[in-house]
Symmetry: C2
Subunit: 113 residues, 2 copies
DNA sequence: GTGATCGTCAACCATTTGGTTGAATATGCG
DNA sequence: CGCATATTCAACCAAATGGTTGACGATCAC
């Protein structure tokens, strides 16, 4: 994780529209038009958001025919998550405590909004 | 974690100066002036950065006398980290795979820059 | 009290961000 | 070919961001 990668990743995650998009892509790969459908926003705006997510490596885009498919890239999120944990003060690697904490959190999580 | 909290947290983390500040506070609690010292930037600018970090809950500030002490609030980072992990596709809670991955990452990590 | 130190406030500035619209570029379909 | 669909590009705009400077309010030290 370079500084610039962290810049892009966190900036990308700071926008609720983009987080919602990630949440959608967690379910399934989607075309740009389909990503845009639930939002009250132009297709061009969504296209820009997808570009930002792709630049941060959070999604990958692959054009097949005239449709551009978007899929989540979990590794990028995982890497950023790791970076954050280094601040969470699991001193060396206190995974037992972390495991308990994570299990508790996940049992009552809501992905977004 | 509300949507707005995530906005503030990730926006705060998106700036390299603010991440460097967090990194410094990982070592020790510090006064505003001391936080500012290594940066080539006005005290007012650093004061703003600290305000943003505090608004996101990433640090706490306590005024004692004329000096305002800043300390890391690891819980906020931990919570955001948890949010990110939900996208990392450890399907239910694949902690074994995660543990291996984390151990590997930490063995070669650099906190910032 | 006087003066230095700690930190914030207010006004300002340049740049970035998140959105719009309309035109343009592919690609698929009949 | 001719038209509809999928996506991006370019120009533009308002608002937010990250920085500056100078004045200001507290607090401590003599």
């Amino acid at each position: 994780m370079t500084t610039q990668t962290l810049d892009l990743t966190f900036a990308a995650l700071a926008d609720p529209t983009r987080r919602a998009i990630l949440s959608m892509l967690l379910e399934d790969d989607m075309a740009v038009t389909d990503v845009a459908e639930p939002f009250d926003m132009s297709l061009a705006a969504i296209s820009k958001h997808l570009g930002i997510l792709a630049a941060a490596g959070l999604i990958a885009q692959e054009k097949r025919g005239r449709v551009k498919w978007c899929k989540l890239e979990p590794d990028a999120l995982r890497a950023a998550s790791i970076w954050m944990q280094s601040f969470g003060q699991f001193e060396a690697v206190n995974l037992d405590a972390f495991e308990a904490f994570l299990a508790h959190e996940l049992s009552s999580k809501s992905i977004d909004d």
